[in-house]
């Protein structure tokens, strides 16, 4: 069998780079004097990435332990990003998308004179900003809220997790967005915060939520027979609020412990903003948005 290679395409109108290989779809942008070299370096980094990373896949799918047995830089990043979640169940797979984005970005910027660059791996984004540079992200999953980033802040990664996407979630949040020092950190945090967003035990509306064992949907899932959310029906405002409260508690704990700016948690049309304490200029909300609540 001939080795498969990433597909390379250039997307109009501004010639962003699209790299696609198996489950990985990267959209890459580089601006600045050496942008051409940067793109070539990204393509080279991607060429053998998957092949090399999958050698460690079986161990990456196991519940994380303190010791770090991995060799590939992406696997090492995944491991580091997933440490520090106590006794809760987590495998390094929770940070795979973010870690790949971080890795390709590092490979891309090495030795190059660039003003801005970003690697977007299906919504998990790693970016770099030269001094004085700014970037704005528009969050379509959060009612088009805008995140303003500046080279003066330490934040260089963002990730989204939720029950509807390609990855499974143990929680009922439609989306959790985390801004962190890098994409892998944000990826693991978003996954863990999302899994904490659920109705309290024995809640009367619990039957509006459907779940299935992860194995039944994907026999290779690292979540094993844990129940993942398959459908969330109509919920009362009170139920949504309680779920958001639980998510907020989890988010506060994560934010105080790790290099994370803050998180946005959305259940149906309701968004809770947690953290961003020293950086209130980061978020700009759309005026006619639905219920926003900001944690005290």
């Amino acid at each position: 069998m001939a080795a498969s290679h990433p597909q390379v395409a250039w997307l109009p109108p501004d010639q962003r780079l699209h790299l696609s290989h198996g489950p990985t779809d990267l959209i890459i942008k580089a601006e600045g004097k050496d942008s051409h070299h940067a793109y070539q370096q990204a393509i080279t980094a991607m060429d053998t990435l998957l092949e090399d990373l999958v050698k460690e896949l079986p161990d990456l799918r196991l519940k994380i332990s303190a010791e770090m047995p991995f060799h590939h830089p992406v696997a090492q990043r995944m491991h580091r990003a997933c440490l520090g979640y106590g006794t809760r169940f987590i495998t390094p797979m929770a940070a795979v998308a973010g870690a790949i984005a971080d890795y390709v970005l590092d490979a891309m910027i090495a030795g190059n004179d660039l003003t801005k660059a970003s690697v977007n791996n299906g919504g998990d984004i790693a970016f770099c900003l030269a001094e004085g540079q700014k970037a704005t992200a528009v969050l379509a999953d959060m009612n088009d809220a805008r995140i303003h980033l500046h080279s003066g802040h330490p934040w260089r990664g963002m990730a989204t997790s939720g029950h509807g996407g390609r990855s499974f979630s143990l929680g009922i949040a439609d989306a959790v967005l985390v801004i962190a020092d890098q994409a892998s950190t944000a990826d693991a945090a978003a996954t863990m915060i999302a899994s904490a967003v659920h109705l309290p035990n024995h809640h009367p509306e619990a039957d509006r939520i459907q779940t299935a064992p992860a194995f039944s949907l994907d026999s290779e899932s690292d979540l094993g027979n844990r129940e993942v959310t398959t459908h969330v029906g109509e919920l009362s405002l009170s139920a949504i609020t309680q779920a958001l409260d639980l998510g907020e508690i989890a988010a506060q704990a994560v934010i105080s412990d790790k290099p994370i700016a803050g998180a946005l948690i959305r259940v149906k049309d309701h968004i809770r903003i947690v953290g961003f304490d020293h950086h209130s200029d980061i978020i700009m909300l759309k005026e006619e948005s639905k219920l926003w609540s900001i944690s005290q």
Partner: protein, 483 residues
């Protein structure tokens, strides 16, 4: 192939997932179906030997029965072919085939279109919206109402501004809307200060919740104008009921020209010009787009001084011929229903026959950009020139595309003719559509084509592509397809 509980290893990429029956791999592009790894969007090959209606023949390289017939019966489309067209690597399939004693080369690729859209023609006289009004899907602006055509309202959706220039939500909604329309699915659109309309290629439009069946030949007045001469001598009075304008032949200009005698009829409605009345009833599901179940409701008293007399015959008919009734005035000048004479029935059928079915037409329109062309040839401008001079033929999913005159390669194609699910998308957002260029081999070489990458159809069917191991054969949608 018997059902198999074992997991199967997929080798399409290094992850090499073990996939259980009925599940897909990590990429969601390959799945285990009945014990075989299949690509969820297989390479589509049009095979004229399969008569329309026959079962689709899926075939993997090893299972292919070896018969290919003549090359001109099989056409490799770009659907499911994948994209690799950076400036150093040729397009996924460059197929060489014999046809009419000349070698032809078809270059196959999926093209990513950021600059693209659809033109929608909706055959209806109903006013959907003003020219220039914004068209929305799920509240997001996706296009506008353009100048109308004869019997049709026109919408133009997409374009780079809605796809990438507005908010993320607008871009994703626009991309999703275009993809659904191009894949022949129904989409609900709403027009600012206008109506809502459900559009689906090849189907009648559903306007404000009501399905349109026929394009009216015209309003009541136009119908009278068209058919008055056929009613002379057959009937004393004709009323054509319509939600817009209801026509009365004895008062109408068309009747005057034929010396139609007065009948003393009175209509309950707002008179426009003679024989033409607005608002005889409210809009609805009854006669002629009104809410009328009983057409007599719109008639007032008959005036003997103006020509009304017992025995006067009256035809009431709607503008699509779907509803009709025949009445005769009795001694008290009250219309009494009677069975319609055969000759009159024929004229009612004629109205219906002249009404075409109301339909939506969706034309995909897009341009083939620079990098795509360089996947075909080392000198992209030569491909453009070859297309413009018609030496190279352009098809989308095997369907001939109309190439616009002028610069570049801008194509337009009727999505109804294309195979199902030909269109996809990437997260940019941008539409992915199949595009094939067919040209004589010597012309292909002359325009700088990648000669060493040419493969025969037999080779592709047996070996597959780099990314497409599996293919599906279907008959072409249009019977006069000449691949």
């Amino acid at each position: 192939m018997k059902k198999n509980d074992e997991k199967i290893r997929c080798d399409a990429c290094p992850v090499m997932c073990y996939i259980a029956e009925g599940q897909s791999g990590a990429c969601d592009r390959y799945a285990n179906h009945d014990g075989q790894i299949i690509r969820l969007d297989p390479l589509m090959i049009l095979d004229r030997r399969i008569k329309a209606g026959d079962a689709i023949k899926p075939f993997l390289g090893a299972d292919w029965d070896g018969s290919i017939g003549h090359d001109h019966e099989v056409f490799v489309t770009a659907i499911g072919s994948g994209t690799t067209y950076p400036d150093y690597k040729p397009a996924p399939f460059i197929v060489g085939r014999h046809m009419d004693d000349a070698d032809f080369v078809t270059v196959v690729s999926e093209a990513i279109f950021s600059y693209c859209g659809v033109k929608i023609k909706i055959d209806t006289d109903r006013h959907l919206g003003h020219e220039g009004a914004i068209v929305r899907a799920n509240g997001e602006a996706v296009g506008l109402v353009i100048t109308s055509e004869y019997g049709s309202q026109m919408l133009s959706l997409g374009g780079v501004d809605h796809l990438t220039g507005g908010s993320k939500a607008e871009g994703r909604t626009t991309c999703d809307t275009l993809m659904k329309l191009c894949n022949k699915e129904a989409v609900e659109l709403s027009i600012d200060d206008g109506s809502s309309v459900v559009v689906q290629a090849g189907q009648p439009p559903i306007v404000d919740g009501k399905k349109e069946y026929r394009m009216r030949v015209g309003c009541g007045s136009a119908t009278i104008g068209m058919f008055a001469s056929q009613w002379v001598g057959l009937i004393d009075e004709v009323v054509v009921v319509d939600d817009h304008i209801t026509g009365v032949v004895s008062e109408h200009q068309a009747g005057k020209v034929l010396d139609w005698p007065d009948t003393g009829i009175t209509i309950k409605g707002r008179r426009s010009t003679p024989g033409r009345y607005f608002q005889v009833a409210k809009p609805g599901l009854g006669w002629g787009g009104t809410d009328l179940e009983d057409p007599l409701k719109i008639l007032g008293d008959w005036r003997p001084a103006k020509g009304a007399k017992p025995g006067l015959t009256i035809l009431m008919v709607s503008t699509t011929g779907e509803h009709s009734a025949y009445f005769v005035l009795d001694e008290d000048l009250t219309p009494q229903p009677q069975e319609m004479p055969a000759a009159l029935k024929a004229s009612v059928d004629l109205i219906a026959e002249n009404c075409e079915p109301a339909l939506c037409t969706v034309m995909f329109m897009g341009g083939a950009g620079g990098s795509l062309r360089s996947g075909v040839t080392k000198n992209p401008i030569k491909l453009t020139e070859s297309v413009q001079s018609r030496h190279t033929r352009v098809t989308c999913g095997g369907v001939d595309a109309y190439v616009w005159p002028g610069g570049g390669i801008t194509v337009m194609v009727d999505v109804l003719k294309m195979p199902d699910q030909s269109f996809g998308y990437v997260p940019t957002p941008a539409l992915v559509a199949p595009l094939e260029f067919t040209v004589r081999k010597e012309d292909y070489i002359a325009l700088g084509g990648h000669e060493t990458a040419i493969r025969s159809i037999k080779d592709i069917l047996t070996t597959g592509g780099e990314y497409s191991k599996k293919s599906i054969a279907k008959p072409p949608a249009n019977s006069d397809h000449n691949a």
